[in-house]
């Protein structure tokens, strides 16, 4: 079993990543869409012996307009809510075809399911739960742009507190989303998934290391990646990576991993920035009053306390 996993190497520097691209240009993703960055890096780590199952969403629609395709690996799109179920089927087929000698049993084939936050947290949750619970050898990557962006910026289960979306708009009575983000990591933990991680494209090497680690595991893994959306979050296309970085620096996003249940915060933040630095760059938060910003800061403070307690030491420091 172990011999199948040695083909994936964990990169130690950016120069360990191959030059070869298996996700190429010419697609219709928005200019400055960080999904492109995430998927390019994912496929650099995974390599050509990969089958990608993609749920309906921004990524799928922009990269597969017949007769073009941006994917230089086998790529399957079936429907919105079943990326995990289809990936389960592909994995089972590869397994049995190897047993029957139709595929070289020593060939390592990565099976990666990619879904957006909508296709994973909401409509795809059932299929995800089934796949994780059954223990298929599939890496599930969620690219989280915090709303149903493809259909026009509607609220999803991943939309954060106070964010503007077209279905949680800002008016005289309501001020954007009033509920917190769904905790997909907690859900994955409940399924006893061996490797769970959160990642951020601004921290390339950390993200790529996590992709590699997950692909080495013989079992299910889930990586939740922040995907800053220039169109939906309302910011200048060039700021995608900068905003992603600020998300970590303000502890809005925490880069962590659960390796067989053991928690580690992989990007410690010794001195935190005020969440204002993150919010002020995004049009979807432009309606916030000073009071509301402080409310958001309070919630982050509480979250940071919880994480530090869970880890056992102060990995995320106080406000600078």
């Amino acid at each position: 079993m172990l011999s199948l996993t040695v083909n994936i190497r964990i990169p130690r520097t950016v120069w360990d990543l191959p030059r070869e691209d298996y996700f190429v240009g010419g697609h219709n993703l928005c200019a400055g869409c960080t999904a492109g960055t995430i998927v390019r890096n994912l496929l650099k780590v995974a390599g050509p012996n990969t089958i990608v199952v993609n749920a309906t969403g921004c990524l799928e629609v922009s990269t597969s307009l017949f007769p073009f395709t941006s994917w230089k690996v086998p790529w399957i799109h079936i429907a919105f809510e079943n990326a995990a179920a289809v990936a389960s089927g592909v994995e089972a087929a590869i397994k049995v075809l190897k047993e029957k000698g139709k595929i070289d049993p020593n060939k390592k084939i990565n099976i990666i399911a990619i879904g957006g936050d909508g296709g994973t947290f909401d409509i795809g949750l059932q299929a995800l739960s089934g796949m994780l619970e059954r223990g298929h050898n599939v890496l599930y990557v969620v690219y989280d742009n915090e709303a149903y962006m493809n259909t026009g910026i509607q609220r999803s289960g991943a939309t954060p507190y106070k964010a503007w979306t077209t279905t949680t708009p800002v008016g005289t009575i309501m001020r954007g989303e009033w509920r917190d983000k769904k905790d997909i990591i907690g859900i994955a933990l409940a399924h006893k998934v061996p490797y769970i991680a959160t990642a951020n494209p601004a921290f390339l090497l950390d993200m790529d290391k996590k992709f590699a680690k997950a692909l080495q595991i013989d079992g299910p893994s889930l990586i939740h990646v922040l995907m800053a959306c220039t169109t939906g979050w309302r910011f200048d296309p060039k700021l995608g990576i900068k905003i992603s970085k600020l998300a970590v620096e303000t502890a809005v996003w925490v880069n962590l991993e659960y390796n067989y249940g053991k928690l580690e915060v992989t990007t410690p933040v010794p001195k935190r920035k005020h969440v204002r630095e993150y919010l002020k760059l995004q049009g979807r938060y432009s309606h916030l009053t000073e009071e509301e910003i402080n409310d958001i800061q309070e919630r982050i403070n509480r979250k940071v306390e919880e994480i530090n307690r869970a880890v056992g030491k102060e990995v995320i420091g106080p406000l600078a």
């Binding site: 010419g26 492109g36 390339l204 200048d236 060039k238």
Partner: protein, 105 residues
Amino acid sequence: MKSRESLPSWYELPIGGISRPNITPESKAGWRFEKPVIDNEKCIRCRLCFLYCPDAAIVESDEKYTTKTGKTYNVSYKINYYFCKGCGICAEECPVKAITMVPEV
């Protein structure tokens, strides 16, 4: 603009809408209103712009380059203007500001 009549017939198309990555997509150059220009003198070959670009529009090659101050690099970077959308992430993230966005004429 191709007219619909000149597109393949039902028996010429692959079944089921299957496509292969051997057809070059249309250029995205028309999306830009400004384009990046790399200054080979300032570039320290950190590889970040190459890895960040969402469109794989920065090409890394084994072209050697020696700066005016005598430093030699074994790789160089070029922008693929066919695919570049002018998003500006490369210029924003370059740690030495070796990339500038110039207006697309």
